[in-house]
Symmetry: C2
């Protein structure tokens, strides 16, 4: 099965789930959240990998739903914590309803994650839950670190990589790994695919950080330098503060305090360029990408399938939007 | 095994879990919440029932931990929603840390619920998760109704019973049922024990509502009429408004608006007495208790064990504190 067919299969499954299962007041915000769309990257990867390993698609669709529900649950609660007004251009749940409704419907969504796994066959159930739990707890740990970093003056790049690894890498790792696990892939493949997905997720986030400042506005489809304006601690930001001598640090701090968005973004671009942090980000991203690709070599798949996975990830990591 | 031995077994297990597993910043509030104590009624019931059905205690302890974690998770998030400053006489998690920490550590606690089930044997895992999910979703539905009721003028007793049935009855039902399920009890026993526990939970809550106003201050250990002072919609309150003619309704509304706590409690007591709502509450409680007892008759247990369960519940429902 090709990736594009997995997208269609999952979207059909999700549509029917939304219509049949998400009824009643408690689950209305869950339905709303899922209706906001998104790339459905994680569930599609799960189904696609599962089919490459010749798994049973109905079982994979259940687990894919669990992963998508978990991702959306974490967004609903993160949006409360970040006081975010918008998600995918639409009102966030806590803004459309209220904070209590967002807490409670998020809780219900997390229970639905495990309900989606009820139909996984007994042979796979225990391992699937174990894998998902580990990943889910890491997402929470990542969110904890992300909140902690907001009040810390200096973070180093290793701390940042560790944080995004947990916050975004682990769930992508779980998507790859669960797909293989449900298809009875060798345990070492399951482990390698987890690492592969995790590294891909970190590289993807670094790419995201680069595009915020160096992307093409028309392609990215949002304001250039949004992270800078919000003083967000991205790879570029953290690396700049890490590399700066005392003179550069003064300049960075002036940039940090600058109120005019245009001037601020121009200042940041100049400083980041002279510190060479874009190249550092690209180097780190490339390194993670190479490490990920290396993990594909010994998978129990034929060459065309391995190449399909490699090609997909290369495309994902070279995106410009 | 007697109930008291099950208490000791669970408390030892919980103590070791708290020390070994609850480390790191994310789980610190989880550890705090569990350290606040409580009667550990639900997990103890699970272990005790499991042992009456000759189950494997280690497996039951895992599931008991899951139930206790779920109960505490729901308290942490409910306390945010209710803006409660105290829980068991100690500062609530969102007050001791902050709301974001309480949301996130609550989320982590809900994942720990399912992590605790990882060690349930494959034969029981699917059924256990299904049972727990159903009960957990009902707890959320009950909390949703409870929040909805706050802004509704008139609720009838059936709506109230339905709400407390979900908010507090279902998890007690799950505790009884899971204990039996893990010991390979007949399916009909599992179902009957769920209903038994649910009815017991509702009766317990009605008892709680009665004690708030009619309890012995020295025994209850808190202010008499606390629910009245907070205009809380308890069984007594709802039944009074349900029964009142227009003249009594005027008096109830004056009582509702009364600011002086002592006068308010005195007014409420007088009105509730003339409307006979205490007797209504006692009648309903007794009815539920009888229905629950009826469910015990056909369980696959010997007479002394059935009597042990009946005796425990009678004691629970005749408590005065």
């Amino acid at each position: 099965m090709e990736f594009n067919k997995a997208v269609v299969a999952f979207n059909n499954y999700l549509k029917s789930y939304q219509e049949k299962e998400l009824t009643g007041k408690l689950l209305e915000p869950v339905k709303y959240m899922l209706s906001l769309g998104g790339k459905r990257l994680r569930p599609t990867i799960l189904v696609w990998i599962n089919q490459l390993y010749k798994g049973e698609i109905n079982e994979a669709l259940n687990a894919a739903l669990a992963i998508e529900l978990f991702h959306n649950f974490s967004l609903v609660h993160d949006d409360i914590m970040d006081e975010a007004p918008l998600r995918r251009g639409k009102t966030t749940v806590h803004q459309k309803w209220d904070t209590n409704t967002a807490i409670l419907s998020g809780d219900a969504m997390l229970i639905l994650v495990y309900q989606a796994l009820e139909n996984v066959c007994p042979e796979h159930l225990g391992k699937s839950i174990k894998l998902l739990n580990k990943s889910a707890l890491n997402v929470c740990k990542g969110q904890q670190l992300d909140m902690d970093f907001e009040s810390e003056r200096l973070i180093n790049i290793d701390q940042y990589i560790n944080m995004i690894g947990q916050k975004t890498g682990d769930l992508l790792g779980a998507s790859f790994a669960l797909g293989a696990l449900l298809a009875n892939a060798p345990e070492s493949d399951v482990e390698k695919l987890y690492e592969f997905g995790k590294k891909t997720g970190i590289a993807f986030q670094i790419q995201d950080d680069i595009l915020d400042l160096y992307g093409d506005k028309a392609k990215v489809g949002k304001q250039i330098g949004g992270d800078i304006i919000a003083n967000k601690k991205t790879f570029l930001w953290i690396r700049a503060f890490e590399k700066a001598d005392s003179q550069m640090l003064d300049k960075l701090e002036k940039m940090e305090a600058e109120k005019n968005p245009e001037i601020k973004v121009r200042l940041a671009t100049g400083l980041f360029n002279s510190l060479g942090v874009k190249a550092d980000a690209e180097y780190k991203k490339q390194k993670l990408q190479n490490e990920a690709m290396g993990l594909l070599n010994n998978l129990d798949l034929n060459n065309p399938d391995r190449e399909q996975i490699a090609g997909f990830v290369l495309k994902l990591l070279s995106r410009e939007d």
